[in-house]
């Protein structure tokens, strides 16, 4: 088997950056604030669908050639136009990508906030998990059943990443990988700053015991809603990158399986620890790639074995084993002591 090592490494780095964004978002929501977001796939998909809509509506408009229906008879024409605009006009592509990211951040944040309104007002703690898990499946089905959004179950192709205009494929991939890693790094720093601030300590207090925190007069519901808005915005950002990295948006990519991947990252890496989330993202990325390679190799040997099924079993088993034997994850959350205010004075 011939493997292009540079291309593989770049692809891995890109996927790692995107996964890291997802893991950081869930870690902020579940690990730090204790909100069990079982609808991660939905918030990621919001970013991806945003990309689908902007690449078919906003991009032609920015390029001065609006009004072509992306589905139906003009499908191939619209696809050719998208590709032409992203490959020949870097400024238009960049502007479109930037606007996509902005819109996705806003929509993701809004969705997180709205979801928290419904979900945090329920009785028992796990209802929230049920609502989000179920909600993400329903959103997916509705998006599939509403053809103007993504051409129904066909999906949209030609959602090029912002550096497709670079002629050298390696350089183009490298620039995109760099962008993904930079965004992941920025999200990591943001999360770390947030967690170490008084705001973050309040979030941890809510996670440990929301009634006591409420009793101390803290706005528990509002903080939870805010953290869900922030986390979902990050998830939507990862969704944009996910879509442009694939070059394709389809509702089939945002199933419960994606949610499972993100949960494995956080539970494996370390709940409540940003570095743990990064480690988890790295392990899951590598495992995903390895299982894909193994699947191709096995198929080449003529095996009748569907390896994708084994991947799900493997990931679910990892989750169970972690819950049983090492609940705090590979990199446990460290207790942070904050120096008393008096000692900080010179």
């Amino acid at each position: 088997m011939n493997i292009d090592y540079v291309a593989t490494a770049l692809a891995l780095l890109t996927v790692f950056g995107i996964s890291a964004l997802m893991a950081l978002s869930l870690n902020l929501e579940y690990g730090v604030a204790g909100v069990p977001n079982f609808g991660q796939a939905m918030f990621v998909s919001i970013g991806a669908y945003t990309a689908g809509v902007t690449y078919t509506r906003l991009l032609p408009w920015l390029g001065g050639r609006a009004g072509l229906d992306p589905c139906g008879d003009t499908l191939t024409k619209a696809l050719a136009l998208r590709t032409e605009l992203t490959t020949l006009f870097p400024t238009v592509g960049f502007l479109n990508f930037g606007l996509t990211v902005l819109i996705a951040l806003l929509l993701g944040g809004l969705a997180g906030y709205l979801a928290s309104y419904a979900a945090l007002r329920v009785w028992e703690e796990w209802y929230l998990g049920l609502i989000l898990l179920v909600g993400s499946e329903v959103v997916r089905i509705l998006a599939q059943g509403y053809p103007p959004l993504l051409c129904g179950s066909n999906g949209l192709s030609g959602i090029g990443q912002p550096f497709v205009w670079v002629h050298n494929a390696t350089w183009s991939a490298a620039l995109f990988a760099l962008l993904a890693l930079l965004l992941a790094g920025a999200a990591y720093l943001l999360c770390e700053r947030l967690v170490r601030s008084p705001y973050g300590r309040l979030l941890k207090a809510i996670r440990e015991n929301d009634r006591v925190t409420l009793g101390l007069g803290k706005p528990v519901q509002r903080r939870r809603a805010q953290v869900m808005a922030i986390g979902s915005a990050i998830a939507a950002l990862s969704g944009v990158l996910f879509a442009v990295n694939l070059g394709f948006v389809s509702t089939n990519d945002y199933t419960v399986a994606l949610t499972l991947d993100v949960w494995v990252m956080v539970v494996l890496g370390g709940v409540g620890n940003g570095r743990g989330a990064l480690l988890g993202a790295l392990i899951v990325t590598v495992l995903n790639r390895l299982t894909a390679i193994a699947a191709i190799a096995l198929n080449a040997m003529g095996s009748q074995f569907e390896f994708n099924y084994v991947r799900y079993i493997l990931f679910a088993a990892i989750l169970l084993l972690m819950l049983r034997y090492r609940r705090q994850g590979l990199l446990p959350e460290r207790a942070r002591t904050t120096i008393a205010h008096d000692e900080l004075r010179p």
């Binding site: 579940y30 069990p36 079982f38 419904a118 007002r121 329920v122 009785w123 028992e124 703690e125 796990w126 209802y127 998990g129 049920l130 609502i131 898990l133 179920v134 909600g135 499946e137 329903v138 089905i141 509705l142 599939q144 059943g145 499972l260 949960w263 539970v267 009748q304 074995f305 569907e306 099924y309 084994v310 799900y312 079993i313 990931f315 679910a316 088993a317 989750l319 169970l320 819950l323 049983r324 609940r327």
Partner: protein
Amino acid sequence: MPASVVFDSLVRSIQVGSLYALMALGLTLTLAVVRLPNFAHAELITVGGYVALLSSLWLTHSLFVILGLAFIGSALVAWLMHRAVYRPLARRNLSTYGMLLASFSVGLILRYIIFLLVDRYGLFDKHIAVPVEIWYRTPDVILTNLFFWSVPTAVALMIVLSLVLRGTSLGRQMRALADNGILARVTGIPVDQVHDLTWLVVGGLAGVGGALWGMYTSLNPLTGWLTILSVFAASVLGGMTSFTGTILGAYVVSFSENLLMQWLNFRFGLDFTFKAAVPFVIIILVLLLRPAGLTGFAGSLRKLSRR
């Protein structure tokens, strides 16, 4: 709407509602007695369906034997799930979120093991091989033997279960556990034994539900996962603890999915794709507006006020 369409979806509502009720009763029992939101309940349904399919292909066409085997098969899987995963985790004081995640993982493992086997032996979209006969026919509606089997079976099982819960010592112990777990333990109720039996009953009911479902439509490894949403909706309508509420809820969900959906389609042209959203809307509305469910705490297994 034309009369034939009305009757057709009425029949479907009743049939599907009875099966939902069977599946949801098990879920309500786990929620009330074991206090676990078991997402792997979906796979118990699928397992029951496939056990029934295999026994109908290899062994017999007798309905009672098939249903019995489905009951036993799913009951064993449920018991294994409890012993191998849930009990060890609960003993280590895992949080509810953790248990939710664990049940989700168990469900995934089971689902994809079924996928592997089904893929290997080519068992996708199979019907359970029982002879279908038409027992009742008018110009508007045709009723097959499946209807006359599945609805009474479901109703009979519901009656048996409610008699067990009300009359036997096992039922009393289950209700005691549902009411107050710690108090029940202190009073000397053999908690482990009651949990074991509860899981057997829960699995069995889901298995029979799955088997009847597989006769009514076709089976694939996602059967359980696709019905679990409606089943959860039924349980939520029952306030997650009420027996009568759950049965009522199952029929409400089924009628809204079939008859109401048909009417909305006829009247407003709503596409049938949106049928999948019906249980979700029900769940959201109930949790927000009336978390105690349809019957409130009147028929609750856990007669307590909030928390």
